[in-house]
């Protein structure tokens, strides 16, 4: 389903924070803050996760020179059970809050909801975004952190990062959300939780295709089309899918993936980064800054999410995936 925003809500401020290992990220210089302690000086990983969300939101509010009372809505999600880090951060923020779960696609689904609320006139200012904390997520979805299991080359590394954006009424000096596509849930029957890129690529394909068709656009209409966390292997699969459908190699160069690029060529991170914070931190730092500087005029951000749980995977269910996209422009 493609939504066209007549009022063109703008992203008035952005904030991205990351953990210690994320210093190795190629996007490191774009992050607002990087902390030395993975737990953000809290007692547990989950508390640290919530504090990280709070810090990112504080940065957003400071940049816009506003206080929490000025914000109408807080839309956030993460990957921990029942999204407690987002809930606990919302407790401190005391802003009307809706928790959202689209797995790693929450970075974009939250901005879509914020833009709709803005277009409706219900919201003057809304903070939207997503986060993930490596230890808190890994322990839930996979094995204990210190367990010495071997991961295949297709596995990805959950980032410790949070990215949030302040969505408000149209302002020509800031990047604007002109259209969005809410993705369907696509399931090709993949069951390997160590190969999420392969499971998610068809969802990204479906959403990008739907967006371009409905908007009557081509790849060249964009300066960049960036998926969320397909990783190196998933991105290759997505490119192969587009190539099979007649997209030329030079057009495919416009297609990039935040997860595949996040840690550069470091082999220790296998197929690259993943997690709700991966796309959020890249979109709401690097991408927004590139738009503001005028280097990009029109981008399509397509965040991908694998909608599995450890339980569903153990019960032999395949991995349903989704992808949500927003089209941002800079005048």
């Amino acid at each position: 389903m493609v939504i066209e925003f007549k009022s063109k809500p703008s992203i008035l401020a952005n904030g991205a924070v990351a953990g210690p290992l994320e210093k190795k990220s190629v996007f490191y210089s774009y992050f607002d803050s990087v902390i030395e302690d993975e737990r953000w000086n809290e007692k547990t990983n989950e508390q640290g996760h919530a504090t990280m969300i709070l810090e990112a939101c504080d940065i957003v509010m400071k940049k816009a020179n506003i206080k929490n009372l000025d914000v109408d809505f807080f839309l956030s999600g993460d990957l921990v059970n029942q999204m407690t880090p987002s809930n606990f951060a919302a407790r401190e923020l005391a802003i009307s809050f809706i928790g959202l779960f689209s797995a790693c696609a929450t970075s974009v689904s939250s901005v879509i909801i914020a833009s709709l609320l803005t277009e409706l006139g219900a919201s003057q200012l809304a903070i939207a975004g997503a986060a993930s904390q490596h230890n808190a997520i890994e322990r839930q979805f996979r094995y204990p952190i210190e367990y010495g299991g071997k991961k295949p080359a297709t596995a990805q590394w959950t980032v410790t990062a949070a990215g949030y954006a302040l969505v408000g009424k149209h302002n020509p000096e800031y990047p604007s959300v002109v259209a969005a596509t809410v993705g369907k849930v696509v399931d090709v029957g993949d069951t390997n939780p160590f190969h999420m890129g392969g499971a998610m690529a068809p969802a990204a394909y479906d959403t990008i295709n739907a967006h371009l068709t409905k908007r009557n656009q081509k790849f060249q209409d964009y300066d960049l089309i960036m998926t969320g966390d397909l990783g190196k292997v998933g991105l290759k699969i997505l490119k192969a899918m587009f190539a099979q459908n007649g997209v030329k190699p030079e057009e495919l160069q416009l297609l990039r993936d935040a997860g595949a690029e996040f840690y550069g060529e470091d082999q220790a991170f296998l197929a690259g980064a993943s997690g709700a914070g991966c796309s959020a931190a890249v979109y709401f730092s690097y991408i927004i800054q590139q738009l503001k500087s005028g280097r990009f005029k029109r981008v399509l951000l397509c965040a991908t999410g694998a909608l599995l749980s450890p339980l569903s995977f153990q019960q032999g269910e395949s991995i349903p995936c989704t992808a949500h996209a927003i089209e941002l422009t800079m005048e």
Binding site: I145, E146, A201, I237, M241
Partner: protein
Amino acid sequence: MEQEQYKNLEQQVTPPTPYFMNALKAFLVGGIICTIGHAITYFYIIFFDFTEKTVGNPTVSTMIFLSMLLTGFGLYKKLGQYAGAGSAVPVTGFGNAVISAAIEHRTEGVVLGVGGNIFKLAGSVILFGVASAFFVALIKLILVSIGVVQW
């Protein structure tokens, strides 16, 4: 695109699992771990009052202690990523599975956290280890009773 077509495409693009290299690495690292274990066995026999029959327990405890140190310092997971089954199958891998779960759940308290989750990964090893030991002993008992082999 049909599901089958997609599966083919996915398989073409996905790098193949290097089974031979994985097996080779596992063989080397697993072998080294067992050699260290054997050296410890000799150490206890030569320097202490242990026999070949009684040396098993102190050797296993020492190996698990070493595994605990490596796990605590975050090194065993790195070894595991390189060696795969080579570091998972020996008793040090069992130790790593127990200790990593204990460290992980420390934040949920000593009883419900550590106590309730310490065998989260190793529990199935214990269950199937004990069960298969029982059946192997049963087979041997039958073979001894009918005179095929001796104890």
